[in-house]
Symmetry: C2
Subunit: 297 residues, 2 copies
């Protein structure tokens, strides 16, 4: 089998048009950092599933997005995280929902995938599982927005990554703090395999936006159905799935976006919101990042 | 619009070949009772989403299946329930995962759908939500298998229902106690919209079996993709999706099954296990139930 040129794409969430100031610059830097972390894995012949985990964990640590350290709070003022990861080669998957005592939800999701026969663990018992297996705890003061802390991370900004590795395998991962002001215990699409996260041998998808609409359209699996079932080009499959979300959400709703990669290395990054933080690297040049519409993407 | 003849199908779980004795008779009676409860809704012009909720709640109350009162215990000896409901007309959906203090998980899922902007609530906070909105608590001793109680319900036996109502709308609901001996906090496919439960304007699906494989194949949405995307007959779409589960699970794994109804009233109830408790009623005669392969189904 001929080695493929690897490719990695990341997102830092779909959101409003305002993309200026220090927070904007910090987010673009965090995207570049995440691309570097993930690319190091891929460039040395590593696996897509490791690249997406490490890229997402980097964005969770950054505090620049609504995930990990920068996660927004729920209606009770608490931070709870969702995440999922899926290895397209095997369709192995792991996810956690509504965890609140660990620093990196994607690492907990990876442990669910690798170390249990299950796909989804939720709530305080999922925290217990992750902590017992060595995931770093969220120390007091770790979450920037909890307990009246800084609001620097309080921007819609789920994070995700999709990758194709040199063996031709795909993977996707997504992590989020969820909807600001959500009911306690709410889990969004990021942790729902087939909704916000999906990978199989034909494509890998990570979504961002109002999660309930992505669950109700089985968004990420819908993209895969378009590619492998209907034989659509990746961009058309993703565009159709996003149009379905927008139609279901109705006028006035913000919608969202996604990043997706197909096994031929094609990448698409559509969004219906004014902006979506996103970036891509494929070894042909420096990583590229953008927030607004950009002809290079 | 011409009124359609309503139809309701239920299942009480895919499982082993042993379908004898008092427990078997009790399960068949419980299926008949659930069909009666749901049919009363449909025959009076009621909605599919109400019929599936009430049919599933009836099976949860019966104690005859691995759901509600009869739910099996996890690795810690605790009972936790998962459930989802979806209205095909609007693709509104609600679900709960890993709840342990309420008697009927499907009713909690219905409240998530009707009374919140969310789709999925999990863990102790989902119990709090449901209890606050009036879902009956599980009194001490309610769960037959908790705390060393009777093992009468300790048979694989997720429950589910799919319906077509006289307005031509579809709905699906599923409830379970999950995998016996599961890790605490594990949520299975029943609560994952697109995996164990799905309804849209073209079909409604409720699955049973080893949930992780149904999540990793996005099973129920896969059936819908086959019907609405590829234009397959319902039985072929469901058969393909089940074959995908069996292939992913590998030889020796038990697989599972599903019930599904299309908007033309076609029903299919395939299973790869030796038995699947199931039943159907359409007003043309008495309800029919079976556990083993049966040419009438």
């Amino acid at each position: 089998m001929t080695a493929r040129r690897p490719i990695l794409a990341v997102h830092g969430g779909a959101g409003p048009a305002s993309t200026e100031g220090e927070a904007h610059v910090a987010r673009e830097h965090a995207l570049v950092a995440a691309l570097g972390v993930g690319w190091n894995v891929l460039a040395s012949g590593g696996r897509a599933v490791d690249a997406v985990e490490q890229a997402v964990a980097s964005m969770e640590r950054s505090g620049c997005f609504n995930a990990g350290r920068g996660a927004v709070v729920d209606a009770s003022g608490a931070v709870t995280l969702d995440a999922a990861i899926m290895d397209g080669a095997t369709r192995a998957a792991g996810a956690v929902g509504a965890v609140g005592r660990i620093a990196a939800a994607v690492s907990a999701a990876r442990l669910v995938m690798d170390r249990t026969p299950h796909v989804l663990l939720v709530g305080p018992l999922a925290d217990d599982f992750a902590l017992a297996l060595g995931v770093a705890p969220a120390a007091a003061g770790y979450f920037l927005n909890a307990g009246g802390g800084s609001a620097s991370g309080a921007v819609p900004g789920t994070v995700g990554a999709v990758a194709l590795d040199s063996a031709g395998h795909l993977a996707a991962a997504t992590a989020t703090g969820g909807l600001s002001g959500k009911l306690p215990g709410r889990v969004g699409d990021s942790a729902v395999v087939g909704a916000g996260t999906w990978a199989d041998p034909t494509c890998a998808v990570s979504a961002t936006g109002r999660g309930e609409f992505f669950i109700r359209t089985a968004f990420a699996h819908g993209v895969a159905c378009g590619v492998s079932g209907l034989g659509l080009p990746l961009a058309e499959a993703a565009g159709r799935a996003l149009a379905d979300v927008v139609a279901l959400a109705g006028s006035g709703a913000a919608g969202g976006g996604c990043i997706a990669v197909a096994r031929d290395g094609t990448v698409t990054m559509p969004f219906s919101t004014p902006s979506m933080y996103r970036g891509i690297v494929d070894g042909s040049g420096a990583p590229r990042v953008a927030a607004l519409a950009d002809p290079r993407f």
